[in-house]
């Protein structure tokens, strides 16, 4: 299973919740599969999906799922320490770990080599950290949303993207409709 296949299984689990989605292919694939006002597409700033998600979770009570990638977490590794030290029960971080920089040509990441992001997350003090297969990801996310603990899920899937259009929605529209969902 590649990222897009994981997303297909994930949509019934996350579509009613606030989702912050990573730059590039992940946002484009989610947008193509299931565009919703409750999705915040982060169109720039590689690495900050988990940070935006944590800030959002701290500011309000609704469940928040931040979808990130292994390469993106590596670019903002300090985020795991911030999450570990500021646990928010309504926060789930899903790291799609395909061992590659998917949006830029599938170059290998260190997470696909010797670096174990789940072990890093644990060492950073994160409460609940799970490594799951692509097939088990949706079930794990469902349980994480239902739980009252910060959960970091590392989903091991295959490298690869599907051809989908770029997101042309105005950023203020993305932000405004998302904030309406937050207030709803």
């Amino acid at each position: 299973m590649i990222r897009n296949d994981v997303f297909k299984t994930l949509i019934p689990v996350i579509s009613e919740h606030l989702v912050v989605c990573n730059i590039g292919a992940p946002s484009q694939e989610l947008h193509a599969l299931d565009d919703r006002a409750s999705n915040f597409y982060m169109l720039g700033t590689m690495g900050l999906s988990s940070s935006i998600g944590l800030g959002l979770a701290a500011a309000q009570d609704k469940p928040v799922i931040a979808i990130d990638g292994d390469g993106s977490v590596l670019t903002n590794l300090g985020t795991l320490a911030t999450i570990g030290n500021n646990p928010q029960g309504n926060f789930t971080l899903l790291i799609i770990d395909n061992g590659s920089y998917g949006s830029t040509g599938d170059q290998p990441t260190y997470a696909g080599m010797k670096t174990d992001l789940a072990a890093v997350a644990k060492a950073c003090g994160a409460e609940t950290v799970q490594t799951v297969s692509a097939e088990d990801t949706a079930e794990a996310v469902k349980a994480a949303i239902a739980s009252d603990q910060t959960t970091i899920i590392v989903s091991k899937c295959e490298s690869g993207n599907v051809k989908v259009p770029v997101i042309k929605t105005n950023p203020i529209v993305i932000r405004e409709r998302f904030m309406e969902e937050v207030r709803r």
Binding site: G44, T45, G55, A57, N86, P171
Partner: protein
């Protein structure tokens, strides 16, 4: 040890409705951060790097809070992309309380290098910039904080060594 000015700055932030602050420390900001730690009305969530901190602020804003960031001017070298493609692209109001290292009174030569670029970077990004040089300049803080919300923009408040020394 926090000064009257440090307390006044935090009072102004509170009065402006700022209820979420992330910070990366600087010697000049130690007093403000100390006061923040004891201020229950403001959620203080330190970050490891300022671009991460701006991500936290963007999330807190979308969650209904009024965020601000406390940081050193050298970090403007870190956050250019984040300011342009997150804070400005999505029009997020963000007061940035910035210690302005490398100005007159600076003991560390290396700090001068980023001081030389500080206002140029802010100008290049079209970020409204205010420079506190004397303690009385801080009287403008409430207005600046209101302005950031009105404009939905990042706003820089540079506080130099002379300001901090005269405020001690």
């Amino acid at each position: 040890m926090a000064t009257t000015m440090d307390h006044q700055i935090v009072e102004d932030l509170k009065a402006a409705g700022i209820d979420y602050i992330t910070s990366v420390p600087c010697k000049q900001l130690a007093g403000v951060i100390e006061v923040l730690e004891g201020t229950s009305e403001i959620m203080h969530m330190p970050s490891n790097k300022e671009d991460e901190g701006m991500g936290l602020c963007a999330g807190a804003f979308m969650g209904g809070m009024k965020p601000a960031i406390v940081m050193q001017n050298t970090a403007l070298g870190v956050v250019v992309n984040t300011l342009a493609t997150l804070i400005q692209f999505y029009q997020i109001p963000l007061p940035m309380l910035i210690s302005y290292r490398g100005e007159v009174g600076e003991p560390v030569a290396c700090q001068v290098e980023m001081a030389l670029h500080t206002k140029a970077i802010l100008n290049q990004l079209h970020i409204p910039t205010y420079h506190f040089h004397k303690p009385e300049d801080a009287a403008e803080l409430p207005g600046i904080l209101e302005y950031a919300q009105m404009a939905s923009k990042p706003v820089a408040i540079l506080c130099d060594a002379s300001f901090w020394r005269a405020s001690a």
